[in-house]
Each structure stands twice: as structure tokens, then as C-alpha cells.
Symmetry: D3
Subunit: 262 residues, 6 copies
């Protein structure tokens, strides 16, 4: 079985440049997969994508070396297990607010005896190899999203759950929950402190830290701080920003602020 | 941001004529959207529609002034949030049976500090405007379905939950739960009493009341009682009824009873 | 192999009541198929349906005794053959204007030695039986649309092509081509004369005559004239007409003229 | 209303040969439905199929006498109810581990007063008949999957829940949970004992027992033990096994072990 | 009926900024439609889009004021007519090489007596208004692509066909046909001369001239020459270019040359 | 640019084992792609697959080393060019009956100056490399189907067309056209003579010969005769045959004749 390239990259101290897929289409996914991202995350939460649309997107990503990641809509066993069966190499779970949430995440994504994931890796077996059943627990990367005040309070209880691999910070949700403006970059000081605190605790617990960014500038700053999984730009946002610039250039007027979408 | 036309209509004392979409297709949705309904509800619960099929239906409705409403399959955070992110202006949640259910409904559909809705209004931002993040809590209309004996018992506890905008009555479920025949119109007396009680309590709590009807006749009667959101007729039922009448006319025989489907 | 119920009906002197499917969806098709039509025609020409959407619609119709008919977009061999392979029991071909057109229609829909249909009845074999290869030429019904002034001039040359089973008249196209208003019913006198002439010539050549109607009233009149395949009402039109009536009833105003769509 | 052919078969002491559908497509489903299976199960759990893809598959199965069964992804009310509304004649629910789980399964799939299933059988009404509302509770077959050590401990508490019709054993999950190899056939002795124990307890409680098998050989052995619902072979596995044999024959080499997929 | 905004713009001497849609998805189409383009062209020729995928894309564009244009795969009556029935306000036809080609294009897109377009404007009627039948001939814009040496030879014979509204130049095809490099911008001198010749002849015949560009820089140059329909940038190219820049910024290396795709 | 593995294989004197895809689904395609075929042909002619369904199937095949081939529905420029733009490495064109047909096939699939293929290799550029424009003419493999009496008469005129790479024989169509039974294997003597004649002429003209087979036995015989592209088994047939054997084994009765479908 081919190792999970995210793990390989992290073990060598590297940081992954992650793209984001919100358009429910396999051709846009494949086009993105050819642009050099380390990984691409299909967003089943806020992207307009559901399970069936995700499937050919996973296939499209699989035509390249890019690691397929999926953000599930919620901490629910059905979709977490179906996502892994479909071949996702990593899952990002939103709103992991308590230790119990984190335990569920690990349990539902791990085969016995480590967890209670149901057995039936239909596409995973096809694409990851015949030893997937034995290797899956160690192959799959589990990201818990720390993005609320409640999660912040429980951060050590969450991060000490065995089997969790990484945290992923949603700056806009975290900000909102802390009473700050819901933005990806240049967050308010309270949110910034929280972000740095989560990063520090993740490091302390031996976990990788990832974060959602609105621009390469901020992503690079955060990489410098120690983040090792940096989302920057989604299919829809990159397309919209490019379109805005193009239309503005044609109209000889200043472009709208790029990146104003979600 | 354009105001929610349902709110505008209600504030002027009007009642909304609501159509129902059970066919998972954007062309039938667009055809319905051109027939003059105030709002159209995409039914993810009993309609044969899921999230991905709903998306182009929302787009099709958006080509007109008709307000897009979605009935979610169940009180679950994932689908409630995805539905709003996709641009629904109102959500109808089935089987709200307790005060806690109603609180969850409000929380999951409201951004902090009012609730815990996760931030990522990908299509809502596109179609409702750049100020959607600030305005969404007040823009979105939340309907709790009161349709069981249990909900009837808890009606004041439910209706007094802050942030709830409206109730929606499913006469067939309510009837069934009360031991009556599961019909939309001409319900048994016990069910009729329950319906009028819910309406009275909604008014008392300052909420709008809506109800599912099988015919304009009954819908108009209920409008006269004070209901302000009147569903009457679905895409599939209207098509089937028209087909039955046509075939019967061609065969020179009495038509089957129209409206015998769900 | 089950006989083609259209042929059986016609041989007994009966007329088929045909519904029309313009919505590219299998649930609307199945709903229509349960309303008692003798046949349902999936419209690949003016309906918003293409081949892939047609496939589950054919399956949906197949859950009932209704005969599946397809109107192809144009006189082209690829789609004619794919349609039959997919299990259509009859095909309607638009704009058959010359004897050569009619000969192509027959050839492309008939196996050698009668024609040049390519062999590969993948779904037809599944649903019509193992003897489909031997029986297909006699099973399939071929309708040539006579709907232009040119076709009218060539009517006998067209209708005398061996292997043609039926004509189908498009009153709006025929009207337009003759300089009349493009309507289904109550056509202008010139168009009415043309319709009756085509009917008479079809009878003379031993062919069945079919026609598109906008209402049961006119369909019954035309049936009385001798037409044996009467389309009346489409999924989209019936739904829209029902919706208009419903909305009008709710608004206590006169409904828009039903049937104003295509 | 036509009786549920699974019930009829079981009442006569027979065993159902059940095929499995993991490919999200209506043509593969229809092809399978023509091969003589008593029932076909659409797998929403480990198959790569979701609700919307299931719908035309149900229609495709409905073109034959084969009984349509659905395995839902998880014990959740939304999908259980939508699946029945869409016309499934039986549901298989994974991971029923406690008496409470089994009670939920029965409640969510039964109309009041027996349960709390919401009323809206949109396609079920169309395909099963106008008396579906009255007959549905007795028509629908409910399978609880007993496939964990916990369920084994609770087996009598689960099986004595009124309204449950059958158990379904997932040998690979059960094996995994008991510390054995996750296989369908030729399971480890501990798993074999568990399987026989569940079978015995099902019989004692008057329930039908079903099981997932990897080959006809083992399925026949288990049928001889008393199992009356025998899954053997899925669309994807049969296709892959046939392809492996074909390629191996062409390469004049031994085929890979057939059936190595999920 | 709302006038065709392309015609309005051109009549005022303006030039349309046209975006290009190659991704077969309605959400990417809707996102593009919100970026300020005058028109968006769905590419059924070289985009990976077919008729059924186009339909919700047309609906998505219709949620805005952007004019929906479609490039058909080839000069064929079936798809040209279906495209207009689906609501396209303009069609671009590739490889119009002879006067006869241009005559067919006009005939197939015009109702009698001007042409032979078949009547059935199913969605056009819905979205463009009840007077579409009378106004369609003058509403629809017909672009003939002049993009081969043969077309260049026949340029006056083509451009003088009555009913043709505009030419559209494909610089890469034209270049290839003239023995030059197949690029959009900075074409070889022979191709440049051809482009300017076509522009001049279009002006002489009173037609609008449009052209495909790879960058705003060249599009603006060509606008200055007199082109009034300027395609610049496609959904997929803009997304890919943005992704390349982002990844390059993250890797602190020079980006790949943007715009290297089709 | 990676060489076309079909060419590489043939140049070394090898024969390609080709699988056939008739199910319009990317998961079945991907499952097939993992079974060791040299190439897989997506059948747009007799398979129930159209362009849009083909796209994710091509992506699924691309996850492996298997060569993606497409059989187009008919000799038409639109679909031939779209198929190549979508990344097909080879095309099979049915019913090439005359020298002119073969010339069109070559012209429409070759860029100038060799042909008239329109430029826009949107996905081909992505998956085959940046030098696709220069290399495409030599990369793409063009199969002309010789499968009628007319083609047999014209065999040398067809095979001598420059740019044609291979012939592909459809034994059932060829048989039918010659008055024989439409079977893949064990054809009638007249058809067998024709097959051997076409093979001999292909060899004489330096072309590769391919043929459709119903079983490995016959495919191996034909390989021994000199055929170098051997289709044996389709997704749907392999699945159906496996299902028949399984059901028969369970019923302890003789299986139906496998391979009785198309
Ligand atoms: Mg978040
Ligand atoms: Mg209800
Ligand atoms: Mg017509
Ligand atoms: Mg299991
Ligand atoms: Mg071109
Ligand atoms: Mg053939």
C-alpha cells in the first residue's frame, strides 16, 4: 500500500499546500488536481457538494499524485464511513467541541479494536491496495476542527484523544464564536491569540496543525508559525477572482476586491 | 440585501401562496416558479429530492421573484446548514416535538452569538448579497413543524423559543399521531381542534402559522382562519391530477379522484 | 416477445391516448406512467431531454404497461439507433420532408436485409425478450412527422415508403410552414385542410395517423376524424396549467389561459 | 396491494436469494434485476450510492418481480423514512447494537400508533397501491444488522423488540468486532459460533435470519443451517471477478483470486 | 419581451465582454454570472459540456442580467434548435466554411418564412416571454465562426447571407488552418492579416465581429480595432491560472505560465 | 508526452486485451480499469452511454495505466472531436463503408494540415501533456469499423486511406449484413471468410486488425490468426453472466447460457 503522502510530507517536516473544492464537478476537480497542490479537500460542509458528486471528484484527483481529503458536513458516522470507503485519505470534521466529539471521530474512522468503523472499503480497496484493511487505521488522517469557544476551552481534552492526527482551524467560525469578524485572514486579536494557542497545544500534543487561509500571504505567515497544512484558495474563489480581474481589466476600472466570496 | 419577501408579505398582513416541489429537477422547478406562487418549497423530506438535486432547483427558482423554501429531511445540523448555505430563504423542519428541538432548530440556523450555525454561506453570499453574514439571522425564516401529539402537548414550550418565526402544520402526520385519518383536508374533528389550537397559540406567541392543504378550497378556509402560509398543490400532484382529467376526458369516463397521491 | 401494444390497439381499430414527456426526470415520468395513458412519448426534440436523461425515464415507464415512445431530435442515424437500443417501442422522427428522408428513417430503424440498423440492442434485449433480434423490425413502430409545406407536396412519395408505419402531424410546425399561426388546436383553415389531407392519404396508404393536440376537446374531434394516436397534454403543461388554476383560485382571480406553454 | 414477496416466500418456508447493488446506476441495477434474484439490495452504506442515485435504481428493479431492499447508511430517521417513501419493500439497518437501537428502527419505519414514521409515501403510494398507508406497517420488512460484540451481548434484548422482522448478519464486521479476520466466508471459529448463536436466537424469537456471503458454496451451507435470506455476490464483485477470469484466460495465466473486493 | 442585451449594447456602439464556460456545472456557471460579464458562452464544442449539463447552466446564468450564449458542437439542426428552445439568446456555430453553411445556420435558427426552425420553444417561452414566437427571429443572435482558410476564401459569400448577425473568429483554428501556431493571442502575421481582413469584411457587410482572446491585453487591442464581442478567459482557465499563481506563491517559486490550457 | 500504449504494444508485436464499457458510470468503469485490461472502450454507440456520462468514465480509467478508447455513435464530426478533446487515446468509428467515410474519419480526427480537426483539446492537454497539440495526430489511434457488405466490397479503398491506423470488425453487424446470424463468436462460414479477408487486407495495408468477441476462447483463436486488438466481455455482460451463474448455483439448477446479452 502506498503511504499517505500527507504523512510522508509531515514526517519530513514539510507543510502541505492544500486546495479547496466547492464546485460539485469532476472536471473542475481534475483541472485543480493538475496545478501542483499537495492535497485537495472536497468540502461537503460549506461547498455545494454531496456524497454522490464527491465520488467522481475523488476519481479525478486520483488521476494525479494529489492527496484526496474530504471535509464532512458534520460529525456523523454514516457520512464519515462512506467518505473513507470512497477512498478519502484524510477527513476533516467540523465543530469538534468536546473530548467526546473527538473520541467519536476517531472511533468512527478506525476499525476494531481501535474503533467501530464498519467494514466495507469498496473503493478504498480498489485504489489504495489489497492491504487496506490492515493498514487503514494508520493510513487515514483525522483532522478535528477547533473552531468554537467551547472547543477552545476543551482544547487539551480534545487534542489528547488517542488516534487524532491533526487539528484544522476555521478562522471565520472561530472568530464568530469569539465575537470577532468572520474572516479567514487578518483576524481580530482575540481570534489571533486563540489560533496561536491552538497551534501551540497541537504541537505540545504532537499533532499537526492546519488552517484555512484567504491568501498566500497569510498562509505563508502561518506556515512560518508552524502550521503544516495550509489551505489557500478554492476552485470557486480562484475562478471568481480571476473573472473579476479580467472584467475589470476590460472595463479599465479597478477590480472589485478579490476573494470576497466564501 | 433584498428583504425576505415572505417577511415583507407577512408584515403587511398578507398570506403567502406556497407551491411544493417533489420532483428532483430544475426544469420542473423553473416551470413552477413562473406560475405566480409567492414561494416554492423544495421537499427534501417526503419529496424524492436530495441536496445535490436541490441545488439547481434553487437556481431555477432564483430566476424569478418566488421565495425559495426548503423542508429538510430531519432536525439535523448538517443538512440545515447546507441548505441555508445553498441560498434557501426559509427552512421548514419536520417533527419539532419538544422545546429542545425548537432550540436546536434556531441555534443551528443562526450565527453566533444567537446560535451555532457554521460560517460558509457560499451560494447565499452570491445571491443574497455581500451583507448576508450580518443580515442572515434576521433574513432566514425558520418554520417548526407541529405535527404530533407530543408537539401538541409541548406547543407553548416550543412556540416560546426565541428566534422561531413560524409554525407549519402537517395535517396528515398530526392526524395520524392523534389517531385520525392521514389526510390534508377535511380532517377528523380531533385533528381540526388541534389545528385550530396550534393556530391560536402561534398567534398568541406572535408567530406566523402555515399549513399543508390538498385543495384551494380548504386552503382558503384556513387562510380565513388566520393562516398566512398556505401550501396547496405539488408539482407531482398537479401533473398527475391534470393527467387523470385528460385521460378520463379522452376515455369519456369519470376521472379518478384527483389528488389521491401524496 | 410481448407484442407492441400500440400495434395491438390499432389492429383492433382503437386509438391510443398518448402523453408527452418534456421534463428530464424519471420520477415525473413514472408518475405520468401511472395515470392511464396508452403510451408516453419522451420528447428529445423540443423537450429539454437528451439521451442520458431519457434512459431512466424509459425504465420508469417500463414499470407499467404504458408503451414507451421517443421523438428523436432529428433524422440522424446515431440517435435513432441508440433510442431503439435503449428500448423504445416506437420512434417519432421530425421533419420528414422527402421520400428519401422516409427511406432513411425506415432503413436506420430496421435490421438487414430490410435496413441498415446496427446490431446491439443492449436494453431492448433485456426488456423486450431474447427474440428481439428476429422480431424487432416488426415490433418497432416508425412515425414520420409530416409538418412542412414540402412534406405536404411529397406526401404520397413519403407515405408509400415500405416499412413506414404511421404519420405524426405537428400542427404548429405545419401551420407555420403554411403561413398560419403556430398553434396545436383550432388551426387556421389552410392548416386544417392540410391536416385532413394528410389523414386521408395516410388512410389510403394503410398507415396510422397521429397528431399533437392542445386539449382533449380537439383530440376527441380529431379521433372522430380517424386519427388513432392522439397526444394531449405534456407533463410540464399539465403541471403549469394546474398551478395556474391553483394560484388563481387562491388569489380569487381568473386564471391565466391554461396551456399557453409549448 | 401486492404482498411483499419476501414475506410470501418466507411464509412458505423458502429462502430468498439476494443480490447486492453497489454501483450507483440504474442500468446496472436493471441488468441485475433480470437475472432471477428474489431480491436486490441497494447498499447505501458501503456501496458508492446515495439517495438520489438510488431512486432510478429502485425504478429499474421495479420493472421486474424482484423485491427492492435498501441498506441504509446508519440508524437515522431521515434516510430510513425517505427510503421507504421511495418504495423500498425492506430495509436493512447496520449496527443495531442495543434494544434501544432496535426500537428506534421499528418506530421510525412504522406509522402511528405502532411508531413515528412521518407520513408522505410519495413513490410507495404510486408503486405499491392506494392502500399503502393502511398496509405499510405490515408490508415493510425490517432487518436489524447484528454485527458487533455489543449486539451479540444484547441479542435477546434486540430480537425481542416487537415489530422487528429479521436479522441480517455482516460476517466481516462481526468478525472484526470479535477480533477475527474480516471475511464473508470461512470465518474464524469464534465468529462462526456467534453466527450460529444469532441464527438460533432469531429462530427462537420467530425472526427470519439473513447473512452476507462471498460465494454460493457458503451461502448454500448457511441456507442449510436455516438462514432464509442469502446475499451472494454484488454487481461490482461479479463484474470484477468475470473480468479477472477473462483477462487471465487471455493472458494464459492463472486468474487472480476472484471475489477479493468488498 | 425583453430585448436581447447584446443587440442593445452593439446598437449603442459598445463591445461585449464575454466569459467562457467549459465546466459542465451550474454552480460554477452561476458564480461566473455574478462577476460582471456582459455575456457568458457555454461551450458545447470544446468545453466538456453537453446539452443536459447546459440546461441548469442556462438557468444559473438567467439568475442574473448576463446574456446566455451557446457555442454548438457543429453545424447540425438538432442541437442548434434544442439550444434555442432551451433559451440561448445567441448561438455561435463553429466551422462555417461556405455560403451554404451560413444559409443552413440562418435557416435552422429562424422560424418560417425566414427559415425552417421547428416550433417548440419550451424554455425560451418561459424565460423570454409569451411573444417569443413572433420575436424570436429578431431576438436570437447568430454568430458564424470564420476560422479556416476555406472560410477566408468564401468570406464575402458567407457574410452576405441574410439573417447572419455576426462573425466569431477562433484564432487558434484559423492559425492552424493557415499553417501558423494555434494560439489565441499574438498570432503569426499571416493569421493576424486574416483576422483583420475578416473584421474589415464584417464591418463592410454590417455585421458585428467577435473573437476569442487569451488575455485582456490582446482583447483590448482587438476591441480597439473594432471587435465588439470579446471573449477573454474561461472558467477552467481562470481557475487554473489562479491556482498556479497560488501554488507558486506558496512554494516561493516562479509560477508556470498562466493560461497554458485551452 | 507519454506514448500511446496501444501503439507501443502493437509495435512490439503484441495484442491488446480490450474490455468494453456499456454501463454509464464512473465507478463501474474504475472497477473494470483495475482488472488488468490493456485498454477499455467506452461504447457510445450501443452502450447506454452518452458524452457527459463518458467524461467521468474517462477520468476513472485514467487513474490506471489502461488505455481509454471510445466508440462513437456514428461518423459525425461533433462527437468525434469532443471525444478526442475529452482525452480518448483511440476512437472506433462504426459503419465505415466507403473510402470517403474513411477519409472523413481521418480528417475529423487530425489537425491541419493532415485534417480538419478543430483545435481545443481541453482535457487532452491536461492529461496527455503540453505537447499534445504537436503530437496528437500521431498519438491518436483511429479504428474504422468494417462491418457491412458494402464495406467489404470497398475494403481496399478504405484501408488505403492515409492516416487510418486500424480496422475493427463487428462480427454481428457484418454477419447480419451478409445474411448470417448476428453473433460475436462461431459466426457462419460466409462471415468467417469475410473476417479473414478483412484481416488479410488489413495486414497487407500495414494496419492493425481488431475484433469483437464473445468469449476468451474465440478471442484467442482470432489472436492466433493475427488480430491484435481483442475485445472480450463487457461490464454488463460479465456482471450478468456472473449473476446468472450465482443464482443458478443457489437454485441448484443449470445456469442460463451465459453471454446471451449484447
Ligand atoms: Mg467552520
Ligand atoms: Mg409531516
Ligand atoms: Mg414539429
Ligand atoms: Mg457491516
Ligand atoms: Mg474553433
Ligand atoms: Mg456494429
Amino acid at each position: 500500500m502506498t503511504p499517505n503522502r500527507l504523512r510522508t510530507l509531515w514526517q519530513s517536516g514539510g507543510a502541505a499546500v492544500n486546495g479547496w473544492l466547492a464546485i460539485p464537478n469532476s472536471f473542475s476537480a481534475e483541472t485543480m488536481a493538475h496545478q501542483g497542490w499537495d492535497s485537495l479537500t472536497i468540502d461537503l460542509q460549506h461547498g455545494v457538494v454531496d456524497y454522490q458528486a464527491m465520488l467522481p471528484m475523488l476519481q479525478a484527483i486520483q488521476t494525479t499524485e494529489t492527496v484526496p481529503v474530504v471535509r464532512v458536513p458534520w460529525l456523523e458516522p454514516g457520512i464519515l464511513m462512506k467518505t473513507l470507503d470512497a477512498g478519502a485519505a484524510a477527513v476533516i470534521c467540523p465543530m469538534v467541541n468536546t473530548r467526546e466529539d473527538a473520541q467519536k471521530l476517531v472511533a468512527w474512522t478506525s476499525y476494531a479494536p481501535r474503533g467501530t468503523r464498519s467494514f466495507g472499503p469498496i473503493r478504498a480497496l480498489l485504489v489504495h491496495g489489497a492491504d487496506y484493511p490492515e493498514e487503514a487505521n494508520d493510513f487515514v488522517v483525522r483532522f478535528a476542527m477547533i473552531e468554537t469557544a467551547q472547543a477552545l476551552d476543551n482544547v487539551d481534552a480534545i487534542l489528547s484523544v488517542e488516534g487524532l492526527d491533526a487539528v484544522y482551524i476555521g478562522p471565520s467560525d472561530l472568530s464568530l464564536s469569539l465575537g470577532c469578524r468572520p474572516v479567514f485572514d487578518d483576524v481580530d486579536p482575540t481570534a489571533q491569540q486563540a489560533i496561536e494557542h491552538i497551534l501551540a497545544r497541537a504541537k505540545a500534543h504532537g499533532l499537526v496543525a492546519g488552517i484555512h487561509n484567504g491568501s498566500p500571504r497569510v498562509a505563508l505567515e502561518r506556515q512560518a508559525l508552524g502550521f503544516q497544512f495550509l489551505t489557500v484558495g478554492s476552485d470557486a474563489r480562484l475562478m471568481a477572482a480571476g473573472a473579476q480581474q479580467t472584467v475589470a481589466a476590460m472595463r479599465a476600472q479597478a477590480p472589485a476586491q478579490p476573494g470576497s466570496g466564501y
